[in-house]
């Protein structure tokens, strides 16, 4: 497979020199994100996030399955991340590389292990039937900071998602189709978001948010911090790289919290806008139904 082209020596020097003078190639502040765009699809549970030229698409889906025998009261929740050659020809199909493994582990820790989704509410009949919720993350275009974009897309898709309504009557479980009953949202507990810092310089003294692909290729280390807006850390991952002062990491965490609060507001606003849009059409649909009768 073709390898990803590395930035040339001149490019490296230029970017590093500029960063030392607190400048970035695209004119952003060091702690500034690229313009964030979040759109929902026509279906429930489809979210597309773009951060500059990075584009991520997430789709949530659910089906009824049998729960795991060691966890009879919990539903099944999986996050699938598979990077296709669409993001970069260096990715191969069916052969996970390091980026993919780290991305899926981070999303797993941030969203699944932090208990963002109430898996107990996915249980239908203890030990026999439960919902299996699944999110597929597709990276359409990789221009750096796929982690933050993917995490936002996953959380947005799950909060936007509606699963079919069910009822239990006399030991008979009925799963209603969307035509019979309006689908219901998932049991959601808190919304975690990832914020990734990239470090530059010999001692990792320059910390930068939302690195582009070129910046990612020359950084000496990175640290992904996942928080929710209540100030709870869900996960921190500084997996090696050049050592960074402990105090600097603490500063990064508190700055990350402000960014997470911004994300949270943006997502809440977008969800409200979307539900308003849907409600309008929902009422219109109701009206036509009445007229038919």
């Amino acid at each position: 497979m073709p390898r990803e082209a590395e930035p040339s020596l001149n490019e490296k020097q230029f970017i590093l020199q500029a960063l030392q003078e607190n400048l970035r190639l695209d004119g952003r502040q060091l702690d500034q994100y690229r313009p964030l765009e979040l759109t929902f699809g026509d279906e429930y549970g489809v979210a597309q996030v773009s951060l500059g030229k990075t584009k991520v698409f997430a789709k949530a889906s659910a089906e009824v399955t049998v729960p795991y025998t060691d966890r009879p009261l919990d539903g099944v929740f999986t996050i699938m991340t598979e990077l296709s050659p669409m993001a970069s020809p260096a990715f191969e199909v069916n052969r996970p590389n390091e980026t993919e493994v780290l991305l899926s582990r981070l999303l797993e820790k941030t969203v699944r292990r932090s208990g963002a989704l109430d898996t107990e509410s996915l249980c239908l009949v203890a030990g026999q039937k439960c919902w299996s919720v699944r999110v597929d993350v597709h990276v359409l275009s990789h221009d750096g900071n796929v982690i933050d974009a993917s995490c936002l897309a996953v959380v947005a898709a799950l909060r936007h998602f509606r699963k079919s309504d069910t009822s239990m009557e006399g030991g008979v479980l009925t799963v209603y189709t969307p035509a019979e009953r309006e689908p219901v949202p998932l049991g959601w507990l808190h919304s975690p978001f990832c914020v990734t810092w990239s470090f530059f310089g010999d001692e990792g003294e320059t910390a930068v948010l939302d690195a582009t692909r070129a910046e990612e290729q020359i950084r000496v280390g990175s640290c992904t911090i996942s928080l929710n807006r209540h100030g709870e850390i869900c996960q921190i991952a500084k997996l090696g790289g050049t050592p960074v002062e402990a105090v600097a990491l603490l500063q990064c965490t508190s700055l990350a919290l402000t960014k997470v609060k911004e994300f949270s507001t943006v997502l809440d606003r977008k969800l409200a806008e979307d539900s308003k849009r849907r409600d309008k059409s929902g009422r219109a649909a109701e009206l036509t139904a009445e007229n038919d009768r």
Binding site: I233, I236, K238, G240, P243, L257
Partner: protein, 273 residues
């Protein structure tokens, strides 16, 4: 809840009888395998790991499962650090088969590789690979920390130039994330039981400095707790570094006594500092 957290506040003693800032017994050996370029054995309480380092050497045919961080070890200007971890089936209470593609293991491998790459002088060995294979014999919490320490010792034994020791340990906090009490104490060096119940993090620092090479937190915790935990963790790393340093010096002295190595010019210099 198998761990009775209420007992801690009464006697200020943890389940295994330690105080908040005590490390477990650390036992370390280097040069345990004669055939390898470098090797070590590291115990942190009941967590026991073994490490073998081969290289720097010409990269052989690429095997799966290694962390290929640098694009193609053979072509790059720096040596590639390839880490492979084998978790023995008997290492923990439940015998769970760990597959080759297990993402948790892949993440550990990539973390250790990346942490050591930053400390080793890889630029001295272009077009070559340093193979680090780690074997987990017994698990009782702080696995990543033990692995990093063992890998550091083995790299010292292999004689690969490095800036300083990468020493690691874990730190935790005495109450769960939900309880927002200010009285929560930080804890040093978590065992398996504490790791399951309490929030914790793994820290690795470079030498005597406060510079953090690895910081992994996998549990939910209030952001205000981080500072205390990190401070305790960094302090623990310094203690671990002292222990590692002692082990290396002790082994060196013994080798000189036994005449395994001649007291050469290079070693003379080493004795002086």
């Amino acid at each position: 809840m198998p761990l009775d957290t209420s007992a801690y506040s009464l006697a200020l003693l943890r389940v295994d009888g330690r105080r908040w800032n005590e490390l477990r017994r650390i036992h370390a050996q280097i040069r345990t395998q004669a055939a390898a370029d470098g090797s070590s054995y590291f115990e942190m309480g009941h967590t026991k790991v073994m490490c073998v380092v081969n290289g720097p050497s010409e990269p052989g045919p690429r095997r799966g499962g290694t962390a290929a961080a640098a694009p193609g070890g053979g072509q790059s200007k720096d040596a590639e650090v390839a880490v492979s971890i084998v978790v023995a089936g008997f290492s923990s209470v439940d015998r769970k088969r760990v597959g080759r593609g297990d993402k948790r293991i892949l993440e550990l491998q990539s973390t250790i590789s990346s942490a050591l790459t930053a400390s080793l002088h890889t630029h001295l060995y272009p077009h070559s690979t340093i193979n680090i294979s780690l074997h987990v014999l017994s698990q009782d919490g702080s696995l990543l920390a033990a692995l990093i320490n063992a890998a550091t010792l083995a790299c010292v034994d292999a004689g690969i130039p490095m800036t300083d020791y990468v020493a690691a340990c874990t730190a935790g906090s005495t109450s769960t994330y939900a309880a927002n009490d200010e009285s929560a104490d930080p804890l040093l060096d978590l065992n398996h039981q504490e790791e399951q119940e309490l929030p914790g993090l793994t820290v690795a620092t470079l030498g005597d400095s406060d510079r953090v090479a690895v910081l992994v937190c996998e549990s939910r915790v209030q952001v205000g707790r981080l500072e205390g935990m990190l401070a305790v963790g960094v302090d623990g790393c310094k203690q671990v570094r002292e222990i590692l340093d002692r082990v290396v010096r002790e082994k060196g002295r013994r080798m000189l006594q036994e005449g395994t190595v001649e007291k050469g010019v290079g070693l003379d210099e080493m004795d002086m500092d």
